[in-house]
Amino acid sequence: MASKYRTIQCAAILLLTAACAMPSQNRPQSRDVTSASSTPIASRAGAMGTASNDTLPPTSQTSIRFAVLGDTGTGERRQYDVAAQLWKSHETFPFEFVILVGDNLYGSERAQDYARKFEVPYKPILDANIPFYAALGNHDDTNQIFYKDFNMGGQRFYTFKKDKRGSPGVRFFALDSNYMTREQLNWVDKELAASGSDWKIAFFHHPLYSSGGRHGSEVDLREQLEPLFLTHGLNAVFAGHEHFYERLKPQKGIYYFTAGGSAKLRQGNIRKTGMTEVGFDADNSYMLVEIAGDIMHFQALSRAGRLVDSGSFTRQPPPSQP
């Protein structure tokens, strides 16, 4: 374990040195948060160059491991590149499932589109029986809820749990952030309340906090969801919509990640908002996440397989009951 972190530290030092040589607007913010081993090392320079595989291995054999992809369904070269790199990462970090944070299929949604924009690029993953769990984005037809490989159970919002012996369970909440009805809000409230001592992770398309120049934070949605998240002690949120990677400084104790750059890219779109812990908008990206006991380890990698962010944090204590 110690040697692994030494490696990370060395990599961080090298990349941060490179980052220091870059113009300041291109330099990632690299402030540590509460994590014991956070090593944000995003850089524009780090994204380019030849393909590599900086994927960090999991820390535990009994951990829960998953990948996060966002805004994927273009059917174009970048999506295929990221998919191939993700599969390469699986050799080092054998993730057990993948969450999709929306915009799973851009444009037309004929059978051949499902193939070209999902089934073909992720064929090795699907062939390995690694399930995907999708949330709907603003480009997605609602009928995707019936597509078997999205595992949505015919619902626009749904929950599922992953657990392993020796680890606390992880309860996931896939929400439809396009259309936040009272029914859905009531459901979120009820399901979060019922999820007990599990880790609680939500994923949906629109980021509640974002430094994106195109969209920015979804304030309306935040006003509706955040009180529920705080009341019930949600731990982390994964979103997309913005076509880049951003790890935000914890907002009211909750960790927010934007991972919408897994096929599309909005280069240079991250503004200086003061909310960014690490941002990466120089190339496409994806995330790998591991939950080992009370620690969540995360890493973000570029299309070329470069590590652009990594770190970990301890599960927040549950909110005190009134």
Partner: protein, 206 residues
């Protein structure tokens, strides 16, 4: 026997609703809301009556929709993409075919429009211009909309502002409000059909 206050309110509302003209629902062909003879807002709570009339039409539409759904093969989890696509198109076509006389105002009836516009205006009055402009970012340009038209399946749907949605009467799962340009539409989700349009009510820059 004394009724709790909530029951009394429900009884009064029910009585008022029954006493208000409801010819439209009675005269309309089964399951097909029309714009004829909308209820007059001559009750104590005009907005309440108008909202009720709107929701009655929605309810009526749901009966219609559910009947039409039975005419196309059902979707289940695990459906093949080809089935999903074909079924969506078939349902949309059938919904249009079974409601050929549908027109604007079938649901957003005149009395209800004023209420709806008031809700929208009050919501947007709280929004800064930047927020209004942000709504435009994902909104497809130059989309032709009209009743019984298919919402272009290749175009995204603008995310509906969550606070505004909370202020509007709740719809069944099959229906949703959406904003297209400066217009509010009512959309059948599973058939992807526009079933009503309220034009030029969204105060966002053109």
């Amino acid at each position: 026997m004394a009724y709790p206050p909530t029951v009394m309110v429900a009884l009064v509302v029910g009585f008022v609703a029954c006493a208000s003209p409801q010819e439209s629902a009675a005269q309309a062909p089964k399951s097909v809301p029309t714009t004829q003879n909308p209820p007059r807002a001559n009750t104590v709570n005009a907005y309440g009556a108008a909202t009720k009339a709107f929701l009655d039409r929605v309810q009526e539409y749901m009966i219609f929709h559910n009947n039409v759904e039975k005419m196309v093969p059902p979707l289940t989890e695990g459906s093949h993409p080809e089935e999903i696509t074909k079924r969506g198109m078939a349902l949309g076509a059938m919904l249009v075919k079974q409601r050929p006389e549908a027109r604007e105002g079938d649901f957003f009836i005149e009395e209800y429009r004023a209420y709806l516009i008031k809700i929208i205006q009050e919501d947007f009055a709280k929004r800064p211009m930047a927020d209004r402009k942000a709504l435009l970012v994902d909104m497809p340009k130059d989309v032709k909309i009209g009743v019984n038209m298919v919402y272009p399946p290749v175009l995204p749907l603008a995310t509906f502002p969550a606070n505004l949605l909370k202020a509007l009467p709740e719809l069944p799962k099959v229906l949703e409000y959406r904003i297209v340009g400066q217009h509010l539409i009512l959309r059948d989700v599973t058939g992807n059909i526009i079933i009503d349009v309220l034009r030029n009510v969204i105060p966002i820059p053109k």
